[in-house]
Symmetry: none
Subunit: 259 residues, 2 copies
DNA sequence: GACCAATTACTGGTCAGACCATTGCACCAC
DNA sequence: GTGGTGCAATGGTCTGACCAGTAATTGGTC
């Protein structure tokens, strides 16, 4: 795109416009992560703003951790791009598939605490909502045929979410939410397989029922214990699944090598 | 500390120092929420910096939503103090100042598990590193005078980080890291005050020592327990500090200088 | 030729003073 | 009282200068 032709609207909020413009250029790939962007004086010329306004604009980007500035050197585009969604975790995942189990370990901890707090702090309205979510899920899971796995996963998630919300700790809710999203986005296929098999499904259903009962009845310690057990068994099931998958993959790789 | 005698260290990072100074004054109640603070030109005189640097400092505070600026009017202290702006968790914090303690609650849980796993899984090299970090921090904390709080906070963080890394769970490390960053970015000034007082500092130092011993000796349950205790007492100290701050807010001792 | 020190041409960081645009209030005519 | 009007104060922007680091170039030495 032509960089020289974009000028900044003059008058008010010039630094904001500067920041927005540079952010746009970065997102469009004109300036790439790790790259050194033009000097302040050069940017002033291009954007037709004073250096003071330009610097305030850069200050905005710096406070958003989008650029990194060193005196005598220049400003570089930060390697991990803007905010939102735990991008760093994604990278972790790509490099080490083992982190799946690390993730489940942390999630178990948070789910356990979540269930514990829900049992202790949950209001009557929380309990009603938890029960409703549980019944929706149980009713859907009851029909053996014509079962959409994605829909079941959604109901499952809604049930766990209702419990975490009853903990009345927004930080806990959010952290748990991020981890769950990450888990589902990366290994949804595996979870799918889990639901498809009758053995695991029956075990999960039973654990859900016990979890529901413990939380609603206010038995905090028991709720934590069941939640931990639940996540632990899911982890074990996935581990078995992975082992199975590995065997298949290895035989496939051997084939590839020779063909 | 009389404000007229605090000048901003010249040379490097002037805007950061300006922002830190104003943040401190706000936290001490010299400038109260909703209040209009002095004009930019007057602040320049008092802080002995140029208007450009002062404006960049104000820009920092504005991007943290600590102040609100209107042309022709002035800058007012935002009604809700820090705690916004940073990562994904932000949206939650707007309406709930209480989330600070929610955050500490979650962090305690993760720190506890982290210490537990570190004691169980930590290799001999992990233990060496943890001990080194602990000694660095303890040595620095030992000198009563000439103590940079920021440096101490860094060493403190390095110690806890070493422990979490010994858990060999990257997801746990990352989640903990995010929460800690968030905590420090929002209430660093408060944490600063914590370090400045001899009572809390002594307690924190002792807890660090016990935590170190438990982790290095491999006593997992004990490590978890001490970590939980540690975070709980920090939470309580911050709660007291908050109450005290409320009281300070009512005193207008050094107000005349500013109006 | 290989290596090291000094030079130099950049970079961001800060400052000073000027002018513009908006706001709010005191003042004044009605 | 009410409603304009002008003025003073505010933040917003610009210009041009100088300071302070950085890194590549240069030039000398071995």
């Amino acid at each position: 795109m032509a960089f020289t032709s974009d000028d900044i609207p003059m008058g008010r909020r010039t630094p904001e416009h500067v920041a927005a413009k540079l952010e746009e250029l970065i997102l469009e790939g004109v300036f790439r992560p790790g790259q050194l962007l033009p000097s302040e004086r050069r940017l002033c010329e291009r954007l037709k703003v004073s250096r003071a306004s330009l610097r305030e604009g850069l200050r905005i980007l710096r406070s958003k951790a989008i650029i990194d500035t060193r005196q005598g050197h220049g400003s570089t585009v930060a390697s991990l791009l803007p905010m939102h969604q735990q991008a760093p975790l994604m990278h972790l995942f790509r490099d080490h598939p083992r982190t799946l189990f690390d993730l489940l370990e942390v999630r178990a901890l948070l789910e356990g605490e979540s269930a514990y707090l829900a049992a202790r702090r949950g209001t009557s309205m929380d309990r009603v909502l938890i029960t409703r979510r549980y019944r929706e899920m149980a009713a859907y899971a009851a029909q053996p045929e014509s079962l959409e796995v994605e829909q079941l996963a959604r109901l499952d998630h809604a049930f766990h979410l209702a419990i975490s919300q009853a903990s009345h700790n927004p930080v806990l809710v959010h952290t748990l939410q991020s981890l769950t999203d990450l888990l589902l986005s990366s290994v949804f296929a595996s979870v799918k397989h889990l639901y498809h098999r009758p053995g695991p499904r029956a075990m999960i259903n039973q654990q859900h029922e016990r979890l529901h009962d413990a939380v609603v009845s206010g038995d905090a310690e028991q709720a934590r214990h069941i939640a931990l057990e639940h996540l632990t068994s899911i982890s074990e099931l996935l581990r078995e699944l992975e082992a199975e998958h590995d065997r298949l993959e290895r035989s496939a790789m051997r084939l590839e090598q020779w063909q």
